[in-house]
Symmetry: C2
Subunit: 272 residues, 2 copies
Amino acid sequence: MGKDSPGQVSTPGSRRSVRAVIIGSGNVATQLAPELQRAEVAIVQVYSRTREHAEALAALLGCEATDQLSEVKRGCDLYLFALKDDALAQVIAAMPATGGLWLHTAGSMPMSLFEGATERYGVFYPLQTFSKGRRVEFNDVPFFLEANSDRDLILLKQLAERISDRIYFLPSEKRKYLHLAAVFACNFTNHLFAMAEKVLEEQGIPLAVMMPLIQETVDKIYTLSPREAQTGPAVRYDEEVMNRHLAMLGDAEQREIYRLLSKHIHKAAIHE
Amino acid sequence: MGKDSPGQVSTPGSRRSVRAVIIGSGNVATQLAPELQRAEVAIVQVYSRTREHAEALAALLGCEATDQLSEVKRGCDLYLFALKDDALAQVIAAMPATGGLWLHTAGSMPMSLFEGATERYGVFYPLQTFSKGRRVEFNDVPFFLEANSDRDLILLKQLAERISDRIYFLPSEKRKYLHLAAVFACNFTNHLFAMAEKVLEEQGIPLAVMMPLIQETVDKIYTLSPREAQTGPAVRYDEEVMNRHLAMLGDAEQREIYRLLSKHIHKAAIHE
């Protein structure tokens, strides 16, 4: 990456190979690591605290596996920490000194997690939802980048551009809001789909009949703001319809969710 | 429609013209009426209690307008009531005897609203979200049909098939659950998008950066059930992340929505 990177393997006339270690073996690691390979990053090792998980991903990538942080290879260019938020600080604290650029992929965790642990560090956050058994098309995935030096930020940008067309620089303080917004727009949204599916299931109706409606709900907000696009009984607080709906819901918590969201929609509507 | 329909205009060799009156001038009426015209239904009149609204839609359709129910033309084939739920019963009660087939387009209202008011009636429910300033592609819109006679159900099916490729028969008792599910999957989902937009706006980030994530959230559930597709901190009840998120939300109601949805996601996850 730079002249003075450790572990540099340079072949005259060819793009020099970036060598990377993947720390983690969950959904993000499993999808991002092969993508880095396609982008000509040489993955040399996978670490996971669960040996079988490390080995499974390493087999996919054709590299070494370890379940011991002490065995992580020194002197590579990149160390990509693709871990659950709650494991991240712990693993960083236990990492040996390796040199290279340390990166994490967590939307809600600050870059400062790396402070004091190593010299060069940054964040490589793909804003996407990764599920087992579903491959993500990375060229559309927005990457939000941060680094503790301008030089590494440029390196990160060059790396991200090999994978995606949507590259942004964003500091940790703003990235955490992005992650919060993603919980609303993705995680909570998906749960609403699950609740809709349950209501339909009990009537023997497949969720598939609802896909054109769901698709249009999303298509709309490419051109209208969600506030303009809002429809439904809660907008005009149609209590008759809402009470009928509440009476149809068997689950007290679901009724409370229905009530709260309806109130919040109405409040937003009268402020328009 | 049938030999004995009133007001029949039959031209030898051509498909006989169905004559219809539109009762209502809101988003559903405004989008569905031109679609019926394209399907060779002759719209002869629009009623709205607000004269200007009736006239605006009538001008678009090239037909007559009225704001008096007593002036509604008698003897047409179809009377399409595309009204807000709370206006529907009231308008039906005030309608003159016209003959023909009376239809409403409301997901949550039973067909029995028409009982005693006229002889032939049914439901013509397009499961879609209709916003001003956004044209819906009807051939993908699922239509849920119901009628008080088999003969009229077949007529309704033939009519719906001219507009859409997705035709279903569904009794009122089940249709109301479909409507409830649609509130979750569409109205509430859109409000989550609005909440995400607000969080981002305050950080100067456009909602557009989130569209690939939102699109993938929907694309996933074409192949995975929403329960399998669920991701995010609430699945494993990661309280550290969740508490940080709650601290970032300024609005007490939004915090309550966050808490309730997170609990509900976690409860569903541990029951898997």
